[in-house]
Amino acid sequence: MDAADAATSTETEASIDLLVVVLDTNPSQHVVRQNPQNLTQILEAVIAFGNAHLMQKAQNKLAVLSCSHHATDFLYPLPGRQVELRQVDGQYEVFSLVEKTVKQQLGSILMNAPRLSSPCESLLAGSMSMALCYISRLQRNIGAGVKMHSRILVITGSNECASQYMTYMNVFFTAQKLNIVIDTCALDKTLSLLQQGCDITNGQFLKVTQLDGLLQYLLWVFLPSPQMRHKMVLPPPPKVDYRASCFCHRELIDIGYVCSVCLSVFCKYSPICTTCHTIFKMPGPLPIRPKKKKKPEKM
């Protein structure tokens, strides 16, 4: 091992890896509606995965957020109070703390949740923004000379909420700025917005084909830290489509017109912007003008 390698390895030893799991616990997810037992299975996998992350290094940190249909809450850690803790079967205390806290907290959230009358969307972008606030707080409070690598793992089986487009984008760009990697584990559908987010922040997007193997997927693909991933053979990144859809017909377009004031995208030229009601200057000379000039000459 040469000097540079040794330096990086001591650097990784001293640094803190923070993993924030954003778990979609919305009961209207397709996987949960199919079989309510699935949620238990997902939860078990997440706890095992979180503990595996904590096991890798003593400095590693974990946070779990639940994104439900009515609110976003922290499942772990909880501020201020601790669940009563005793060593069980010689298990490392932190592991049982994670398991107990997450289960207890999620239980109380589900019990207190308002009844769901109709399926509703999970506000994942909001939960991710909360995770970013939490990460930025920890980042501010770490001591000088200590490095922290943070990442967010989103585990969801619901659809993306189109109304949160702007929030998603703000979250992705904030994460990119703070060097936070966003990983996504999609349980049901391919999510194009989160795919873009993973691409922007150099994260990994994975669509799970078999829910039974969730833990294995998590451990194989998402456990290695992003710094280590380029040495591994991971699923190839999906082709991300960055085309814009026009505001008038919602179709993906190759060439469009963009309003210089509000940046709305249109597929055809129109003299007035439907979003901000700006009146545009016509491009080039108006076609009628030369005619008018010519006519008096002829007469």
Partner: protein
């Protein structure tokens, strides 16, 4: 201070009473000053935030020239290590941040060397070129006087041909107190005024009449720096897009949204070279299958946004446009409230008061004031308040609680926004959804 307008009849600095700066600093219970100082810093941060006014129309597509004084006066070591090196360091930060916040804008650098003006970089949209040029400027020999007029003329010549829908700006960083001009500089100022090019000046020495006059005529800002951190603030205040000039033409701009070719044919695209590196001998173009293809002429580029070299089409991706939206729809300022107004949690959870977004336990000493969003009614600590407004640009509460979800607040104030909500002025989530779906791409 230096930024005070001349017109407001203030007494001179030396006529005002003593500024008792030490009185603002109080010891805390342990006799430490840290918390008092932290307080002052945070107040200053919030003040900056509060000063940001909501603008309806911004010049989002900016064409900006930085005119940098490289005369003898830049070697003065009052900014450490020298004025020039300090400026270059700050410009690096500025350029990175500028392109981050204004992704579809262009920037160029002009240096004023020995009474001449020299274009260091052309107007381009990539930061790499500029950062490289800045490195080269560090070793430039600083001699003689600058010529403000030559610099302005050169910038004017280039900006004249920029389409009229773009916002055209010049930022001048002046170290010298004098300028050595070939003819009457007032004619240049008139020309700039006629072309509606906004000129701002940051003076590293003192307020200079001609610079102040220039900024007043062209609707720019003038600032003389006190020290390096003040300089930094002054420079970074140029990052936010300025309000669009009233006379600025609005137009629809034709843009291309490239997508990788492989999707269309199903199999891997042929190896090809990108246009951006083809004439660059330092980093020759590499053969690859990936890249962004211009939808009009099919030439390939490895980075976006870019203006197609072959057909002149502006190529962008949807997230680039989305990145600029937060200038148009900023998060409204939160209300500052005393610590006691936060409702504590249920007693069986320990009766704690928490920040909604980062679950920090608030305590009465360190968090004297908390911040409440007027829409979702959630409380935030001061750090989250700053983080949400300066970096995240989305209120955590409004985006996690269904009902207030989405972007309802963006209709308040402003004239451009209410149009979205004409039919449904109520705070119904459905109306917010309609509105924001317009923005989904």
């Amino acid at each position: 201070m230096a930024d005070d307008d001349k017109d407001d009849q203030k007494e001179y600095r030396w006529e005002t009473g003593y500024e008792k700066t030490w009185e603002a600093i109080k010891e805390d219970d342990d006799g430490m000053l840290d918390s008092a100082i932290a307080d002052l810093i945070q107040k200053a941060k919030r003040k900056r935030q509060a000063e940001k006014t909501k603008q309806n129309r911004l010049g989002m597509m900016r064409h900006l020239f930085i005119v940098l004084d490289c005369s003898e006066s830049m070697s003065v070591p009052d900014l450490k290590p020298t004025r020039l090196l300090c400026t270059l360091k700050l410009l690096e930060i500025f350029i990175e941040e500028f392109f981050d916040q204004n992704p579809i804008s262009q920037l160029g650098i002009i240096a004023l060397k020995a009474k001449r003006a020299e274009k260091i970089t052309e107007l381009t949209g990539t930061s790499r070129v500029h950062l490289k040029a800045l490195e080269g400027l560090a070793n430039v020999s600083l001699t003689s006087e600058p010529s403000l007029q030559n610099g302005l003329d050169l910038a004017l010549k280039t900006l004249k041909v920029v389409p009229s829908h773009a916002s055209r700006e010049i930022v001048i960083i002046m170290g010298s107190l004098t300028t050595c001009d070939p003819v009457d500089i007032n004619s240049t100022i008139e020309e700039l005024q006629k072309e509606r090019i906004r000129c701002s000046v940051i003076s590293l020495s003192a307020e200079i009449h001609i610079c102040r006059h220039l900024t007043q005529q062209t609707m720019g800002t003038f600032g003389a720096v006190l020290d390096d951190s003040h300089f930094r603030d002054q420079l970074l205040s140029q990052i936010d897009p300025p309000p669009a000039a009233k006379t600025q033409d609005n137009s629809l701009i034709r843009m291309g949204f490239p997508h990788s070719k492989n999707e269309s044919d199903g199999k891997d695209a042929a190896l090809s070279m990108c246009m951006c590196h083809i004439e660059n001998s330092d980093e020759p173009s590499e053969l690859s299958t990936t890249g962004h293809h211009c939808p009009q002429c099919n030439s390939k580029y490895c980075e976006l946004p870019v203006e197609c070299l072959c057909c002149g089409l502006t190529l962008v991706s949807a997230p680039h446009l989305a990145r600029s939206y937060h200038h148009l729809f900023p998060v409204p300022n939160f209300e500052e409230l005393p610590f006691e107004s936060v409702p504590p949690e249920a007693p069986d959870f320990g009766s704690l008061r928490k920040c909604y977004s980062c679950i920090k336990v608030l305590n009465a000493v360190a968090d004297k004031s908390v911040f409440k969003c007027g829409y979702c009614q959630q409380f935030f600590c001061i750090d989250c308040d700053i983080f949400i407004h300066e970096t995240l640009h989305a209120c955590v509460g409004c985006n996690t609680i269904p009902g207030v979800a989405g972007l309802v607040y963006q209709k308040q104030g402003g004239k451009a926004a209410p149009d979205f909500h004409q039919q449904q002025p109520s705070m119904m989530p459905s109306s917010s959804k309609q509105r924001s779906q317009q923005y989904s791409m």
